[in-house]
Symmetry: C2
Subunit: 200 residues, 2 copies
């Protein structure tokens, strides 16, 4: 029974920046979606060969899962940040939608939201379902937040948590689609502001 060698030190070192390669993968999946991004596209953008990709990230599916997690913690973090930092659900949603307008139409990166668009028309049920459940979990989390604020008296009693969560999700996902169709930041900010008139 041999002693387990210290992991990661032995052997030929990796010849590329794993973080930078992951960021390249994120851009490609964001722009073209999960299926339309080929391993050949990924390796070309990363500047590596397929065996290096598979050694560093597993297969295409696990790489995509890592990309989704990275997106949530970077470009997609504005949602949870808005809810966490604003005192009321209403203020959180207003800020989230306002920041979404700027983010979704930002010319510095692909338009729209990776969580929303990248798995549309995906032939892998597992991949599609995994991201779908994250979207639906976001809707439920928002509904819980609104409900808690109503219970605590921070929102009017006639506030409808389920409706407003569904409505906010629909508006955000619609804004993402509109951004992909070329809608600009100013137009999306108007949509975001208009959506807040629905609140009591």
């Amino acid at each position: 029974m041999a002693t387990t060698p210290a992991a990661g030190t032995r052997g030929r070192p990796r010849s590329f920046d794993r973080e930078a390669a992951l960021e390249q993968a994120l851009r490609l999946f964001w722009q073209h979606g999960y299926e339309a991004t080929s391993v050949a596209d990924l390796t070309a953008a990363m500047g590596i060969r397929p065996p290096s990709l598979y050694a560093a990230f597993g297969d295409k599916r696990t790489l995509f899962a890592e990309v989704v997690a990275r997106y949530r913690e970077s470009h997609g973090a504005y949602t949870t940040r808005a809810y966490a930092e604003e005192p009321t659900a209403r203020a959180g949603v207003a800020r989230m939608l306002r920041e979404a307008a700027a983010e979704l139409a930002d010319p510095e990166h692909p338009w729209g939201c990776l969580m929303i668009s990248s798995t549309v028309n995906c032939t892998s049920p597992e991949v599609a379902q995994a991201v779908r459940e994250q979207r639906n979990a976001n809707v439920r989390a928002l509904e819980s937040r609104i409900r808690a604020d109503v219970a605590a008296g921070r929102e009017p009693a006639d506030t409808d948590p389920a409706l407003l969560a569904q409505f906010t999700a629909a508006v955000l996902q619609g804004m993402s689609q509109r951004a992909r169709d070329g809608a600009g930041r100013a137009e999306l900010e108007q949509v975001a502001a208009a959506a807040m008139r629905v609140w009591p």
Copy 2:
């Protein structure tokens, strides 16, 4: 110089129902999108072999174009019908969104809107752009309709045509995405009703 023979009478007759085959193609493109629907999927659902498909419909791209046109005249006709038959833009949009809720979540056919979802993440720029332009044309047409109604005094003077057209498009496209994620008719009808509170 031979006289042109009467088209369609000579030769071996087609052995399948072209309309029924087109409807099968519509269902497949609706459910899986343009790229994820393979010619093998299409021929299997139509009960024919590839040469018959190509003889009757051209290639996959022209078949899809015919499917899009068919969708607009059938399942997607509720939009133009609502605008045409209602006296005001506001009533037209209210009816369109209400009917959309029922249509997008109808268990009798694939969820969501074919015009919205079937070309997301499409690698063919031509196909994606063709459908995108139809979506954007719908937004412009609605804006024109609202503007005309404001000019004619059928809508309040503080009605914002550009904003309401963008907002309505975002809500409709978001409802389509929510339907694809499993949102039911009742939830979408609530979203549709809520969206109308934005109007002055």
